[in-house]
Assembly symmetry: C2
Homo-oligomer: 337 residues x 2
């Protein structure tokens, strides 16, 4: 059994902790928390072992009646692999602890590209992560794009990808951020960071991305315009996407008019926290015009990297092959293949 520590219990950490427990080859060493909020209480009620991120947070948690097992160093010492789901760019401080204790660790997309020496999307480069000490799961948008671009590239050759990303403003639990009633360029310059981030996984695909924020909490929306080396057709693209791992196709005519319909589907499916792990593509939108492929894709920013984190853990341990790991992850998460 792989003993997994989850450092950080926010948007990603909460999901990883729950999903680790669904894996037949993993157990959860524990999680870290800073504050005794409802998320800490929820973890406590689930019976998770809770550690403070430092002595101060250990005391704060303890004073609030939450049994604390120790601090982060105690947790990491016990684990085989740490999933670092700490706040953006905190991973670069934590890495020295993992190095000191000779532990393997999975970082998230909010960290610098070079923190781990390898950016990871399971179906694109699982093998390259085998046995490594560190790996960085890329961000939600990059993960979603890599799955689709990698598949189209393998099948038709991608000579150029332009992608416009309408980003959700913030997550549903965050009432502190905007915008309201405004579209915010993010950034005003071209390209946004997403294109170069895709290239950290798929270095040979020329890609330019433009991004802006819109007032919604439900999913990012990508508009893809892809030139292929090989002539293709709408039917061939759809057939390729249908057999691409962790890609789900939906139909406008089937009631999927918007990003909120996708999240509503997750609720109907009984998915935990409404999670959509798949890159969601509107079948209606898939078009081939003058040798360019057009499509709309939605990305659930909170959930899509969950399966990648699980596969990354197995890749680091190095005892499970790509297909076996992805199949197990898919099966335990209810991802249809």
């Amino acid at each position: 059994m792989i003993n997994v520590a989850v450092n950080g219990y926010g948007v990603i950490g909460r999901r990883i902790a729950d999903v680790v427990l669904l894996q037949p080859d993993m157990k959860l060493a524990g999680i870290t928390k800073v504050r005794p909020d409802y998320k800490a209480n929820s973890a406590f009620r689930k019976g998770y072992k809770i550690y403070g991120t430092d002595e101060k947070s250990r005391k704060t948690l303890s004073d609030a009646g939450i049994a604390v097992k120790g601090v982060i160093k105690d947790l990491v010492s016990e684990a085989d692999v740490v999933v670092d789901a700490s706040p953006e760019e905190a991973g670069s401080q934590n890495i020295s602890l993992y190095k000191q204790l000779s532990k393997k660790a999975v970082f998230q997309g909010g960290e610098e590209q070079d923190i781990a020496g390898l950016s990871f999307v399971a179906q694109c480069n699982y093998e390259r992560a085998l046995g490594r000490q560190f790996v960085r799961v890329v961000s939600c948008n990059t993960t979603g794009l890599c799955r689709v671009l990698h598949s189209l590239d393998e099948n038709f050759g991608v000579s150029k990808a332009n992608v416009v990303i309408a980003r959700r403003a913030t997550d549903p639990d965050d009432s502190s951020k905007g915008p309201i009633d405004s579209i915010v360029l993010d950034p005003a310059t071209v390209p946004s960071h997403h294109g170069p981030d895709v290239n950290s996984v798929l270095p040979n695909i020329p890609i330019v991305t433009m991004a802006f924020k819109v007032p919604t909490t439900h999913m990012h929306l990508h508009s893809l315009m892809i030139s292929t080396r090989e002539h293709t057709t709408r039917d061939k693209v759809i057939e390729t996407l249908e057999r691409t791992n962790r890609v789900m196709l939906v139909d406008g005519k089937g009631g999927f008019k918007s990003t909120s319909n996708i999240i509503d589907l997750a609720r109907e499916m009984g998915r935990p926290r409404n999670d959509i792990y798949e890159s969601v593509i509107w079948r209606d939108s898939v078009s081939v015009i003058d040798n360019e492929v057009y499509l709309f894709m939605a990305i659930h920013q909170e959930a899509i990297v969950t399966p990648e984190n699980i596969d990354a853990i197995r890749a680091l341990v190095g005892e499970t092959g790509k297909s076996e790991s992805m199949d197990t992850t898919n099966k335990t998460l209810g991802i249809r293949t």
Copy 2:
């Protein structure tokens, strides 16, 4: 003096009526209204001659204390040119009255493309409208795109344009529509109607558009990706846009982070109703990567067709040349050239 009737006093009609009065060569015959709402009262207080759209609305307005001069037929009879700013697709019913009374008329972009036999954007095809009986000013998005694509095509040759349009959900005065907290594909299929509509003005530019609605009332946001026949540079594109009529460049560094900053600029400028008549382009966003031009553009959906309507009136009358008309319109509306 050109005697102008404005049929409809909604988003566009209100603006046209006010702006007709600023023209040295025009006078306002009157406007039509259906209901005695605050807009009718505002027109009444401004001293505009008000006509019912039919006998019923004449009575309703009159009963509410608004002096009514007659019905639509009386108004049209008096006018030289009618600006049909009636609700979407009502123009196709009104056209028989204009024909019966042998009047010239300007229709809006909500009508069928072929209603008038010519789709109009002043700087693209003013001359073709000279002396015609009817013309159709195209929609806000099409108007904004045509200005920019026409200019880039004249200067560098546009071999292909891909445009992603993030549409504002509805106008600021409309509390009945959504979406809230959702991105709605509009439509889920590709292309949206905007590309073909651009081709009704500029038939030789290959263009594909994708569109969706986002929860904001302030402006549409366009992401343009344009391939040019001639090699170009960022500086050349910016220099071209700077001398393109009715295009305004803004800078992210100057505080323009979002569409709502543009509307706030209009308020600072003292523009009536916060109106932005120009296609607004972020200078920061203008990039040339691998022979493609990238840029972000914002379109004030309520206001951008105002100058086009005024020029269309003059073109139909046929006594004023393109430059003279556009210069007069720009000067009276405060559009810098």
